[in-house]
Amino acid sequence: MSTTSLLVIAILILATLGYFLAGKRAISTAGGDRRKLHSLPVYYGSNAAMFTAIPALGVLLIWLLAQPMLVERNVLSTIPDKFIPEGSSIGLVMSDVRRVADGLEVVVSTGILSQNETLKLDTEQTDIRALLAGVGAAVGSDVQPEVLEAAQNYRAQTKMGQLWMVLIVAPLALFGFALSVLAAKPTFRARNTVERGILALLVLAASLAILTTIGIVFSMLFESINFFKLHPWTDFFFGGLWAPNFRGDSDLSILPLLWGTIYISIIALIVAVPVGLFAAIYLSEYAGPRVRAFAKPLLEILAGIPTIVYGLFALLTVGPALVRVFGRGEEGLLGVEWMSGATAVLTAGLVMGIMLIPFVSSLSDDIINAVPQSLRDGSLGLGATPSETIRQVVLPAALPGIVGAVLLAASRAIGETMIVVLGAGAIAKFSANPLEAMTTITTRIVSQLTGDTDFASPETLVAFALGLTLFVLTLGLNVIALYIVRKYREQYD
């Protein structure tokens, strides 16, 4: 069992102990009469458990999160710059150091070598690489003395950090324990304290949302900065070619990918917006209650189908069907050879459009229903037909909302992954032909991060830059959509 787990279990046991002790103590200090206590005994107990466990566990968590970073930074600073070989980077070296250090830990835990023996290892005498391979730790190349030294340093610091962690966290728990049990007296307002504690936990839970956003932004920003150190940002944003190359002189520009993304999204919107809007209009203005009760839930089902299903649908059904129409030369329906493969912009666009229909439809439905009935009555009272009323009064009144809905649908289309991964292909190009395969930002993120390329290379890091751009793009669309809806909503309130 690792030190950390032992520590956590110890804290939890102590907290439980504190719960019972404090409760008992509260009653006994009240002379056995529960009614004399300010709060119910359970609150005294909870108070004790809280003060024992939460500060200690909190510090433990922060320590666990921060320690690797600090240790790495320390070890990093000890590695001389001139040591870093050509074509590599400090990041690569550090990951080697980490792997060696972790491998050596396994060596000790499996009993192959004792702790002392590992400390005495020498790259000249032992083939460290083979030793590590024996326990399943793969290192890319022979272990250099500098790397071994850094790894030993890493292990030492980690051990030291663990020691300090126990030395700080355990007394913290004990201190909390003692303090809270001693405080269990009738005049102590345990319930208020406990409730404040619970409130703090609630606030923490709520702030997780902010933390997630910060996490998303920073995780991508950090690696994007690393990327831009290796690859000029001007080429990324303004270059014209996407051609990753293992040798390292890749062309990594987002523009062809952006084009593919936008092209497919436009086709998706061309399908989804008219169909979704008209479906919403029909269901809210024309359809009787029975049709509505039947059709609306069915359309909602389309929204609940996972995107992997749509992706498969695109690759295996829609794609080949389109090829049968637009391709295959003489055997095809039109007798043309325009389409060579099942993956194409049109395939992905059509299927994405189908996926977005319920999205647009339900948003539009909400918006149309929000238009007051008095406007419809006014129009009908003037002798307009229902379609004229919808076209000339309701839709213009609902227009900001509908524009917002379209933008939200566009944002969803741009961020979609599975349909394009399976349906759109992997070729990056600037073409206007919808029957060709064209790749998107999301597809490339997947391919660059799941390949075998080294993590610190620009070809992999570019995925973070792509992700950051995607995030900003979708966020921007959402914000604009919200702004438009909010700004124009006062029109007819």
Partner: protein
């Protein structure tokens, strides 16, 4: 100027514009309008009065078939306008509503410009040959609505930007733009302040020179000020119908008297 109308009755015979016979209206199982028969005269202001829920608005909405928009509403009986049954199968409500205009309780200008609000009706019915025609129609309607001078310099500004009274006059202008022959008004002043109410009431008196006006009102005093004929509705029945002066001074039916004197409300 309007006070004089209370005691005056019409000069001469006026034609019957709307003739209703044995009209029943059901909202689902609820029998809302029972056996209403009434003859509404042309070029006259007819007021429908009665306590809340007595069916006056419901009956009003039968006259331009606005009740068609409510699924559970069923109308039986005969309603003739110019001797044509408006519930005849051949009648398209769309054409009917060009002939019978409506002004609603709460002003409901479209979120369009003042010009487009008024031009909406003529546009959809194709009353104008060209832009100049349409401009004329809009101006005429706005004058009729007693609002031309206030808005003539800002016809493109949104209709929703006017004050409450102005909005209602705009809605009246919009309703008369299609040159209807009958104008239905469902408590047009209930959402307006006294000054705006006075302006609208003045307007109604002028409008009666060109249209038949049927006005539903909650206020007996308004009915007395504005109308020449009054019909009293109670619990879905039309209890009494006659000259306004006579209804308010010598009502025949005890229920009418109870309402007038304030015993029921």
């Amino acid at each position: 100027m309007n006070d004089k109308n209370i005691m005056e009755s019409h000069m001469g015979t006026t034609a019957i514009k709307i003739s209703a016979r044995d009209v029943q209206v059901y909202y689902g199982d609820n029998h809302a309008i029972k056996d209403v028969s009434i003859d509404i005269e042309d070029k006259t202001v007819t007021a429908f009065i009665g306590p809340s829920g007595c069916g006056k608005s419901t009956f009003l909405r039968c006259l331009n078939r606005m009740n068609d928009t409510i699924d559970i509403c069923k109308v039986t009986g005969e309603i003739l306008i110019d001797d044509e049954d408006i519930y005849d199968r051949r009648v398209d409500p769309v054409q009917l509503r060009a002939k019978v205009g409506m002004v609603f309780q709460k002003p409901n200008p479209f979120p369009k410009s003042i010009y487009d609000n008024v031009a909406y009706g003529p546009r959809i019915h194709g009353h104008a040959q060209n832009k100049a025609d349409l401009d004329d129609i809009v101006e005429r309607a706005l004058r009729r609505g007693a609002i031309w001078n206030e808005v003539k310099d800002r016809l493109q500004s949104p209709g929703t930007g006017l004050s409450g009274g102005q909005q209602q006059r705009l809605c009246i202008a919009r309703a008369v733009a299609t040159e209807p022959e009958v104008l239905l008004m469902d408590e047009p002043c209930s959402a307006l302040d006294p000054i705006a109410t006075a302006q609208v009431e003045e307007l109604i008196d002028e409008l009666r020179q060109s249209f038949s006006v049927v006005i539903v009102t909650h206020s007996m005093q308004q009915a007395a000020r504005v109308s020449q004929k009054t019909a009293f509705f109670h619990l879905g029945n039309m209890v009494e119908y006659g000259e306004t002066g006579q209804i308010f001074t010598t009502p025949q039916d005890p229920r009418t008297e109870s309402y007038i004197t304030g015993r029921i409300g």
